[in-house]
């Protein structure tokens, strides 16, 4: 049974991505008690699935390593993984959250030696790589995973595979009898940092994500470039494994569109500009990128980055909302159709691969926030006194890039601290 000691001076942080980790760490490093809840088996969130960050082109797991070190050495944070908040009752300064913990079937004895994965035969889609490859049903979520502990996929429980895994473990780390648990914890304030999800590209019919293998999303493209990804860091297109040297990027795929997402997702322009660097990095002057855009939103100092990409002769910019994507069945190439509004030229241009810069949809939308919350028309949590001590942070509160998510999460941590400080002084 999972035991969590928490009082109404505790801050509950929901979501273990960059925003949730930041909020939890900043609060804990200010001396507060924190319970951090993550629904996946490892923390790190979507940023840990990125190959590089803009504008420095540095690697997200570098910052993750620092945050993990902070977390490992901080006794004030209690981390619950594979855990989801299913209910919150109460009010500012006095909440009770109900948390459902899904069984991992692997206990703290696990040394991450990997013997279980060797004997398990079943393979399941790998969510860390957005299902672009498969992994053993006994798996470590990724190489940076914290907790660094294997997971047994639910699908093999009750099968001989699970028994094989158990038999292979020398450390008695596999517990096939693990059951779903529900725990209740008290909290004075809640930081909701459940992040975002890529807009469902299947809904953008004319772009053919559901029909053409060589139309992928920007988050999938990150995995192709990453050495930890399904291709070991080679940019190979899905249909035939051919090197994708001529890549099209479609901006605002689902964003700035009343039929899809009303808002601008802010990050996608910079993300595509960054991804043109991957093409250049992998193929040199043979790598060609074309960005189809409405406005390039390289805000503030990011303008420098845009200027650098513009100066690259291997990158072209076409001001156009792409009308549709078709496929050349003989070659597998994708053909983008539309009108270049700068001078009104029609085009039908073939590319090896088409990357949809899909928008950022708040994860809170549709998913059940177990308490009534004021959100904007896109589903982002509003900063509003009506929300009591329930504070949105990061992409649960707005379409933000990493640095602004960290800013938002740090601010949310302070707002939560203000509440628990008042609780401590018995002012709430």
């Amino acid at each position: 049974m999972t035991e969590v000691v928490a009082t109404n001076e505790t801050i509950l942080v929901v979501g273990g991505g960059i925003s949730g980790m930041t909020a939890a760490l900043e609060a804990a490093e200010t001396g507060k008690q924190v319970v951090l809840v993550e629904k996946n088996p490892a923390i790190g969130g979507r940023t840990s699935q990125l190959y590089r960050y803009f504008p420095k082109l540095c690697h997200p797991i570098c910052g993750l390593e620092i945050n993990l070190r902070r977390l490992k050495s901080n006794p004030r944070i209690r981390l619950l993984t594979m855990a989801e908040v299913t209910g919150i009752t109460g009010s500012k300064g006095d909440y009770t959250a109900t948390i459902k913990i899904t069984p991992r079937y692997v206990n703290a004895n696990c040394t991450a030696c990997g013997d279980c994965a060797k004997v398990v035969e079943t393979e399941v889609p790998n969510p860390f790589n957005y299902g672009l490859n498969k992994m053993k049903a006994a798996y470590l979520p990724n190489k940076m995973a914290y907790p660094m502990r294997y997971v047994l996929d639910k699908s093999i429980i009750g099968t001989p595979d699970a028994e094989r895994a158990k038999a292979a473990c020398k450390y008695d780390a596999i517990d096939l009898d693990m059951q779903e648990e529900t725990v209740q914890i008290k909290a004075g304030a809640v930081v909701w940092a459940t992040g975002w999800q890529p807009y469902d590209a299947n809904k953008i019919q004319p772009y053919g994500y559901d029909r053409f293998k060589n139309v992928i999303t920007s988050v999938e493209f990150e995995r192709l470039a990453d050495p930890h990804g399904p291709t070991g860091g080679k940019i190979l297109r899905p249909s035939d494994g051919k090197e994708a040297k001529n890549v099209a990027f479609i901006q605002c795929a689902g964003s700035r569109d009343e039929n899809h997402l009303r808002h601008c997702s802010r990050i996608c322009c910079m993300a595509s500009l960054k991804q043109t660097n991957y093409v250049q990095e992998h193929f040199g002057d043979e790598g060609k990128s074309t960005i189809y855009y409405i406005d390039i939103r390289a805000i503030d100092r990011f303008e420098d980055f845009y200027a650098k990409v513009q100066a690259n002769p291997n990158v072209s910019f076409i001001k156009s909302k792409v009308a549709k994507v078709t496929q050349d069945d003989a070659t597998g190439d994708v053909i983008l159709h539309g009108v270049n509004t700068e001078g009104y030229h029609r085009y039908a241009t073939p590319h090896d691969l088409c990357v949809l810069a899909v928008g950022m949809e708040p994860s809170v939308k549709g998913a059940n926030i177990p308490i009534e919350i004021l959100a904007d028309s896109s589903g982002f949590i509003e900063a509003d006194p009506a929300n009591g001590a329930f504070f949105g942070a990061g992409c649960a509160s707005n379409a933000l890039d990493v640095n602004r998510s960290v800013q938002s999460a740090t601010a949310a941590a302070l707002r939560a601290i203000q509440v628990v400080n008042k609780v401590a002084r018995a002012e709430v």
Binding site: P60, G114, R256, E303, D376, S377, Q407, L414, Q418
Partner: protein
């Protein structure tokens, strides 16, 4: 403090260590060569029983120092969480058996590798002390906020709300900053349809009503000294009075100025009163609101019937003359200003000329609302504005028609110039010869904080005058501990972001003073209780530590010895790496903790064909990359001995010369990328290491050794395939140039 030291070692046999290694022989090595009497082996050290065994030795047997021979120091941290003792970890799993083939012929070298890591771990733990926390603490809980605009006011109010007193210093005669000179603001809350009240008046009254906030108007910071927890700020007012305030941390919210539109004569500024910048338009709108009438044309007071907004005026400029960056807020601001006209009278023509319209997030709704209100948006690049009587002609290149175009007879032209940060003195600026004295005088007036730090009077800048920060993962980290910059001094931003930024910076400031009070480090080594101490008897006053500290933590005392301000220190060890006489150390990280590991390695003789390669690796990037390569079971040379370091900047060249002297064949240093896009979390560490190592060639030549024997590499945490390859290539190179002649001396 006399410390009863009792060392114990534990060797794990789990995860294949027991099968792949002769652990009994390893235990003998620890006893005989590591000179640790208490050595225990355990089949599964990280399980509850193994952990209980260690804990029992600590609790009941007086063990104060433990060495674990098991997995990487990054693994099983929850189990091996012994906070009351000093601990070193010999990495036998990721560092040895996972990177070596499980073959009979590899067995000998694999065992030798493990033995060396245990010798190293034994040497390290004996040189370590359990950190006690910096005693030179301060306990002020007051926050100094410099700047009374939106950012500063937000910081003050949020700090007070959290229970911390605030001293707020504003150089002008009133609070509010730029926002007080605005008619209305862009909304940050649903509905995103129309301009809203700035909220400045409410904030000012809240500040005035808060007994915890002390406001100095017409005041500047004449001097800042001290360290987190015990800063002293001298606040000078225009009247000539000077007050001293004790503060624990500082939020610098010194804001921005509008880019000077006088530099844009081609856009008509200065040639006609009907060409204004965005600030000028706000003034016209405020006057109109006070009058209760329409916005009037400045030249003749007639109502405005047509307005043109010129975006990116003097911004996003590739010529190098004007601002290179985008100020982020100006598109929304022009939309808002167009609405001032449209909301009052839908018949007024409003045109926004832009190249890229940048309205992220819900700004898109605001943009949509403007389109619905009839604001015209034209993608065009303005070439000139020609004033003609009471109107102007705006010439531009229409980017859609790809043709020249013009708007005739505009009553008003609004230039969206950008934000220029008020960041004070650029401490890296070098005046021309002869101009130093004048610059020193000038600095006093431009400085925001007037820090009496040896390294300069303000927070270092990164680019375009914005203050330095790791602007992705850790945006608040300035290079001056306990001083956090927020708002447009940090990067261009709008009101909504400035408020968020101020709130975050306030948290960091509170955190800094709370941690300073308990002698604990600030980010990124938060919670670290070690601190640098200096043995002044040996100091030669060379000043390298004071010059090189990336965080300005070290001043010089009146006798010109280094004066450490421990609470400003971030514990990177750059000073330790810099010190030529090796008098700087941390309790658990010193020239000795690393040097003794290097010396502990057994060096086979010249004829054994077993080179020894020392790798000094940044613990945050290169070392994890090696761990992950090991998780992939990537085969790596058995001749390397890896020592993680806090930062490559902490590498003292004595380690290199000692290694070469004792017969190592080569040394590899692995640190982070440096330069403009630096990735070093101590900002300058890897850069300094690189500089120092550029001089190592002379040392090598002095030894008559090939310069290839010492190499520095920029390594990223994702280099999981590259790092083993670098090591294996280096090994090959060592065989090519032959074994070091220094073995056995």
């Amino acid at each position: 403090m006399a410390e009863e030291k009792k060392v114990a070692a534990y060797i794990c046999q789990g995860c294949g260590l027991g099968e792949r290694l002769d652990t009994a022989a390893l235990a003998e090595v620890v006893k005989k060569e590591g000179r640790i009497q208490q050595v225990k082996t355990h089949p599964f050290l990280c399980n509850s029983e193994g952990v209980a065994m260690i804990q029992n030795d600590i609790d009941n047997d007086g063990v104060t120092h433990i060495m674990l021979g098991a997995c990487s120091r990054r693994a099983k941290t929850d189990a091996f969480n012994f906070t009351t003792v000093a601990m070193s970890r010999a990495n036998l799993r990721e560092g040895v058996i996972w990177i070596r083939p499980d073959t009979e012929e590899a067995r000998e070298t694999t065992q030798e590798m493990a033995e060396d890591y245990l010798r190293m771990g034994s040497a390290e733990i004996k040189a370590m002390r359990q950190p006690q926390g910096n005693p030179n603490t301060g306990t002020s809980r007051t926050l100094l906020v410099v700047g009374g605009g939106i950012t500063g006011m937000t910081a003050a109010l949020e700090a007070a709300k959290t229970g911390y007193p605030v001293v707020l210093v504003e150089k002008s005669g009133q609070l509010g900053g730029w926002a007080a000179r605005m008619h209305q603001r862009v909304p940050s809350h649903e509905p995103y349809k129309a301009p809203v009240d700035t909220g400045v008046a409410d904030m000012i009254s809240a500040i005035e009503a808060d007994a915890n906030i002390k406001v100095y108007l017409n005041a500047t910071v004449a001097k800042t000294s001290g360290a987190p927890g015990r800063f002293q700020a001298e606040i000078a007012t225009e009247s000539g009075s000077v007050s001293t305030e004790d503060v624990g941390a500082i939020v610098q919210a010194s804001g921005f100025e509008l880019y000077d539109a006088n530099k844009l004569p081609e856009l008509g500024y200065g040639k006609s009163p009907n060409v204004v910048d965005q600030g000028g338009l706000e003034q016209l709108a405020m006057e109109a609101a006070q009058r209760g009438g329409a916005i009037l044309r400045p030249s003749d007071g007639q109502p405005v019937k047509s307005v043109v907004f010129v975006q990116c005026a003097g911004q996003r400029d590739a010529s190098g003359i004007h601002l290179a960056y985008c100020s982020g807020h100006c598109c929304n601001t022009s939309i808002k200003q167009a609405m001032y006209f449209k909301d009052a009278n839908a018949d007024i023509d409003t045109t926004v000329l832009y190249t890229d319209l940048r309205t992220p997030g819900n700004g898109e709704d605001f943009y949509r609302s403007a389109q619905e209100k009839g604001v015209i948006f034209t993608k065009g690049k303005v070439s000139s504005v020609e004033p003609n009587g009471n109107t102007c002609k705006v010439n531009f290149h229409d980017m859609i028609l790809d043709d020249k175009a013009a708007i005739e007879n505009a009553d008003l032209v609004v230039l969206a110039t950008g934000q220029v940060p008020n960041s004070g003195v650029n401490i890296d600026f070098k005046p021309e010869a002869g101009a130093e004295a004048a610059w020193d005088e000038q600095k006093k007036t431009i400085s925001i904080l007037n820090l009496d730090y040896r390294q300069g009077s303000d927070v270092p800048q990164l680019k375009y005058g914005f203050t330095d920060s790791h602007f992705i993962c850790f945006p608040y980290e300035t290079r001056r501990t306990g001083i956090y910059t927020a708002g447009p001094v940090r990067r261009p931003m709008d009101i909504a972001q400035a408020k968020e930024d101020a709130t975050g910076a306030t948290l960091k400031a509170i955190q800094a003073l709370e941690n300073a009070a308990i002698g604990s480090a600030a980010h990124p080594r938060s919670g670290d209780l070690s601190y640098p101490s200096v043995r002044l008897e040996g100091c030669t006053q060379c000043k390298r530590c004071t010059v090189e500290c990336p965080f300005g933590a070290i001043d010089e005392d009146e006798k010109r010895y280094p004066l450490f301000n421990e609470s400003r220190c971030r514990r990177c060890g750059t000073c330790m790496g810099a010190c030529p006489v090796r008098v700087i150390s941390f309790e658990n990280y010193s020239v000795d903790t690393v040097g003794s590991q290097i010396k502990a390695v057994s060096i086979p003789d010249e004829f054994s064909e077993k080179p020894r390669i020392l790798v000094l690796a940044c613990e945050n990037d290169a070392y994890p990359a090696m761990d992950m390569a090991a998780m992939n079971r990537t085969e790596t040379s058995s001749f390397v001995r890896v020592v993680p370091v806090r930062c490559l900047g902490s590498v003292n060249t004595i380690w290199i010369t000692d290694a070469l002297n004792s017969g190592y064949d080569g040394v590899m240093l692995m640190g982070c990328k440096h330069g403009d896009e630096y990735q070093c979390h101590f900002v300058k560490g890897s850069e300094l290491a690189n500089y120092r190592m550029s001089k190592i060639d002379d040392t090598l030549k002095g030894f008559n050794l090939e310069t290839d024997r010492v190499q520095t590499y920029e390594v990223a945490i994702t280099d999981i395939d590259r790092v083993p390859k670098l090591i294996n290539d280096f090994e090959k190179r060592m065989f090519e140039i032959g074994m070091s002649p220094f073995k056995g001396f």
